[in-house]
Symmetry: C2
Subunit: 210 residues, 2 copies
């Protein structure tokens, strides 16, 4: 089980300073969509240069031009690129084919996908690397939670790994671990805490204990 | 009927140089998703500063954190911001509420929405400014075209304006005009031509004649 730190509401120098504090405890740094929108792929490049030993995920939430966007993100240093589950199969396929060429991976964000089971089965057949249940900011505010959806996805996929994201913090981590995804994504649960390294270390310990 | 120029595969200086050639013939410049991903909202800011008399659309294709993203784009100078029709109603509402505060507008991109009629009715009720039928790059490659979908949307909306995008060029413009949207979006149909000003001028004439 890997741990991904999601950065959302910081600029590039703030993001790098934050990752410095918790780098020993994480596997993947996510350049979140708000940072991509504010700074572009420059943020991905700067993060990979600062932490070449960490994997970097570019949260592009691709909806079109899949091959082109995966190419650009991979060239900027992204190890993993996100595409929306709500996108067209042709877009997903474009992402998967290009990622194979580039040596990067594709993570599908299932945010706002209605029929999770059917779509996860299709995505698995399309060869995506990760399928991620994700309760977005707007959904979290409405009280949604992703644990049931993860169980549904795990019951139908054959090859894809699974990931979980959306408001996970130290207190809710045991429930996330119990759901047994391959990747746990934590944002504010680390970045919003005073003792970031302390919390990240505890989260890492819990994940390692499984 | 307004004309929007979509910029996709250029960097900021190339985009500004391109708009200089055709500025007299267009109403809105679109900073396309690939540019947002590569350069961030810096591209929106630079374009608005270079052409304060033109409206600038930021093609963010928002899927989450609607209010926050519309705020950031509007602060960067965007007059119109895009959100995905495939997103949650809470995200759409966040966009609409924030755009009202900021004095900007919301355009919904219907790319890959399955039940166009039902969703357009819902979006209209949520108070979005524009609903845009859009055959993406990946869909164009598969031979999709947006004209039927536009007619469907026009038949159900009461307040929202309509827009059409996806592979429209001088040759197919008459069909787009006949479909009678409020906004026509042209990308490669202008940017991919040798005589960009000449083609843009002809497109403007056809639109004016209606």
């Amino acid at each position: 089980m890997e741990l991904q730190l999601a950065l959302d509401l910081v600029n590039i120098p703030e993001g790098i300073a934050l990752v410095k504090e918790v780098a020993p405890f994480i596997d993947i740094v996510e350049i979140g969509t708000p940072i991509v929108i504010n700074e572009g792929l420059h943020a991905v490049k700067a993060m990979k240069e600062a932490f070449p030993h960490l994997k970097v995920l570019a949260d592009l939430k691709i909806m079109d031009a899949g091959g082109y966007e995966v190419m650009k993100a991979s060239e900027a240093g992204a190890d993993i690129v996100t595409v929306l589950g709500a996108s067209n199969d042709l877009t997903i396929k474009g992402c998967v084919d290009e990622a194979k060429k580039q040596g990067s991976k594709v993570l599908v964000d299932m945010i706002n996908v209605k029929d999770i089971a059917t779509r996860a089965k299709e995505l698995d057949a399309l060869g995506v690397d990760y399928i991620c249940v994700h309760t977005g900011y707007d959904g979290q505010a409405a009280g949604q939670n992703p644990f049931e959806d993860l169980a549904t996805i795990k019951s139908v996929v054959k090859n894809s790994k699974t990931a979980i994201a959306g408001g996970i913090k130290l207190e809710t981590l045991p429930e996330a671990i119990k759901a047994n995804p391959d990747l746990i994504i934590v944002g504010g649960g680390i970045t919003g805490q005073d003792d970031k390294a302390g919390v990240a270390s505890k989260i890492r310990d819990l994940i390692t204990q499984g």
